[in-house]
């Protein structure tokens, strides 16, 4: 099989989510990449070095500058004339674009796969990860999104792909980009962080959340996350949210501070390698999934922990 993989990139660099998608694609056979954007030749060169990559298709055009699905999907559909599968990482771009491609190809997409069982059979989480379904696609072509945390990252070097320009399919005139407010990250990004420190509603308010959680996160070089309850209460913005309705993470170490462990939250972090829970309620459900638990008042325990690290 020949698979076309969507390259997620930012600021001229290939993002980690792409590398997981490449690993998934390699299980199906030949891996080709698609780099879409404006002024993306450096990205294409970097993509060509990813281990195991064949051809790198590059569509460099102002119409692709912000990866608008309306403009990008027709381009992918054209390239799917000579590919058997389209794979995108389950990033906001991937989730936005892949179903549009699938419908144009009259294919039922397989979302958020966790494993490749064979050419046409995959596993994927349903019911917020409370169940895992094995599904077999009857469609001739496959459209798939990949859960990044479920696949190893392909090596960024060692590959010798060939870069090939693709003609633009142009601006379809349906939508335009107005602007973006991308939060300035002083810490690692949640979905690719090795360590995450998350806070829950017990943190009281926004300033307290920052005062307690941020220093610990910085000591550990960790990303900061939050439960939906903490987001709903306005302590931190929504892009901090870990859970069924937020981000799905699987870091090496997940430190849950003042998080009771609602089903909704566990769905987003239970694949973490080691879970550490700090909570004053020893019966909190979070302790049922935690590898290491500490029962105590977070306002005493966390500053003490930060101080001793």
């Amino acid at each position: 099989m020949k698979t076309l993989v969507w390259v997620e990139h930012e600021g001229g660099a290939v993002k980690d989510a792409t590398l997981s998608a490449v690993t998934a694609a390699a299980k199906l056979g030949e891996v080709h990449l698609l780099v879409v954007g404006e002024g993306v030749s450096a990205v294409a060169d970097a993509a060509a070095k990813i281990a195991g990559v064949g051809k790198v298709h590059v569509a460099d055009d102002a119409a692709f500058g912000h990866a608008l699905a309306e403009n990008v999907a027709p381009l992918i559909v054209e390239l799917m004339g000579h590919h058997d599968a389209f794979i995108a990482p389950a990033t906001s771009n991937g989730k936005n674009i892949a179903p549009r491609v699938a419908a144009l190809l009259d294919v039922m997409q397989i979302s958020d796969i966790l494993s490749v069982e064979s050419d046409d059979t995959f596993t994927r989480p349903i019911y917020a990860g409370n169940a895992i379904a094995t599904v077999k696609s009857k469609d001739a072509k496959k459209v798939i999104t990949v859960r990044g945390t479920a696949f190893e990252k392909a090596q960024r070097d060692g590959g010798s792909g060939t870069v090939e320009a693709v003609a633009s399919t142009g601006d379809k005139g349906l939508s335009s980009f107005v602007g973006a407010e991308i939060a300035k990250l002083e810490r690692p990004e949640l979905t690719s962080a090795k360590i995450i420190v998350s806070g829950g509603r017990a943190l009281k308010d926004g300033p307290t959340f920052e005062e307690v959680i941020f220093p610990l996160a910085d000591k550990l070089g960790a990303a900061v996350g939050a439960s939906r309850a903490a987001v709903d209460a306005g302590y931190v913005p929504n892009d901090y949210q870990v859970g069924q309705t937020g981000k799905i993470v699987a870091p090496e170490v997940y430190v849950a501070v003042g998080i009771s462990g609602a089903i909704q939250h566990l769905a987003g972090m239970k694949d973490s390698k080691t879970i550490i829970a700090i909570n004053k309620d020893e019966d909190a459900p979070i302790f049922q999934v935690a590898d290491i638990g500490l029962v105590g008042d977070l306002f005493k325990v966390v500053p003490e922990l930060t101080g001793k690290l």
Binding site: A131, V178, A183, E189, D239, G293, K308
Partner: protein
């Protein structure tokens, strides 16, 4: 301008789903069912646009079993004007749903179609994008803010790392994210009033759409269970563990 809002009847989000012992799916017998939470947000947004005078009519549509009528009645009680049930006992995949909705849109000619970004049962996150593709319309997915301005709509989207705003020509497809609004509760008088609002009954055959499944579910299993680990007595012990793991120097 009409607004079309597709809604789905799903397991209530506070219920922990249980996998059937025979591995064929999730047990939904005698389980509380509710409107998909993201669809509630979609209904709420449509009603608010009507209250602002932007929309003239809100139409809720559901594809599913006869009991999906309850979900439609909830939409009507919240403030939708009328409802369409496309009744089927088959499990319809997002692609099939999108094809049916495209036919409904051909009849209704809505200016906006607002959908939940994903259903909390199959977690596909596809229907809105697929519908946009089939109708060749623009899509504003994962919306946290929607502003209609003449014949276009500005949609602020929740994207990895922040927010992004796009401007779409109408008609347009919008899918809702969590922060778009807080859905209202239907009042008792409105629940009573909803009982007499029109609810049209259709079948997939009425629209001539093939909804046969493209994906075959071979089995459904529980995810690997995590077992509870150890409890440490104090911070010093925790620090020692972190050091042993190489997390702390």
């Amino acid at each position: 301008m009409k607004i079309l809002v597709p809604v789905k009847r799903v397991i209530d989000y506070n219920v922990k789903p249980r996998v059937k012992a025979d591995g064929t799916g999730v047990d939904l017998a005698n389980v509380k069912m509710s409107m998909n939470p993201f669809d509630e947000i979609a209904i709420e947004e449509a009603i608010r646009l009507k209250e602002k005078g932007v929309a003239t009519e809100v139409i809720a549509v559901s594809i599913g079993v006869a009991k999906a009528q309850e979900t439609l009645r909830t939409s009507l009680a919240m403030g939708a004007d009328r409802a369409i049930l496309i009744q089927t006992d088959e499990e319809v995949e997002p692609l099939g749903v999108a094809k049916l909705l495209a036919k409904v849109q051909e009849e209704e000619g809505a200016g906006l179609i607002i959908l939940g970004k994903q259903a909390i049962d199959d977690d596909s996150n596809q229907t809105g994008q697929m519908l946009a593709a089939l109708l060749n319309l623009p899509q504003g997915t994962f919306a946290s803010k929607v502003e209609v301005e003449g014949d276009s709509v500005s949609v602020t989207r929740e994207v990895d790392g922040g927010l992004e705003t796009v401007k779409l020509s109408t008609p347009a497809i919008i899918t809702t994210d969590l922060r778009l609004n807080e859905p209202r509760y239907a009042s008792l008088p409105n629940i009573m009033k909803a009982k007499s609002k029109p609810l049209a009954q259709k079948t997939p055959a009425d629209y001539g759409v093939d909804i046969s499944a493209r994906l075959e579910t071979l089995k459904v299993v529980e995810p690997p269970k995590r077992s509870a680990g150890i409890k440490v007595a104090d911070v010093d012990e925790l620090v020692a563990k972190l050091k042993a793991m190489g997390v702390a120097a």
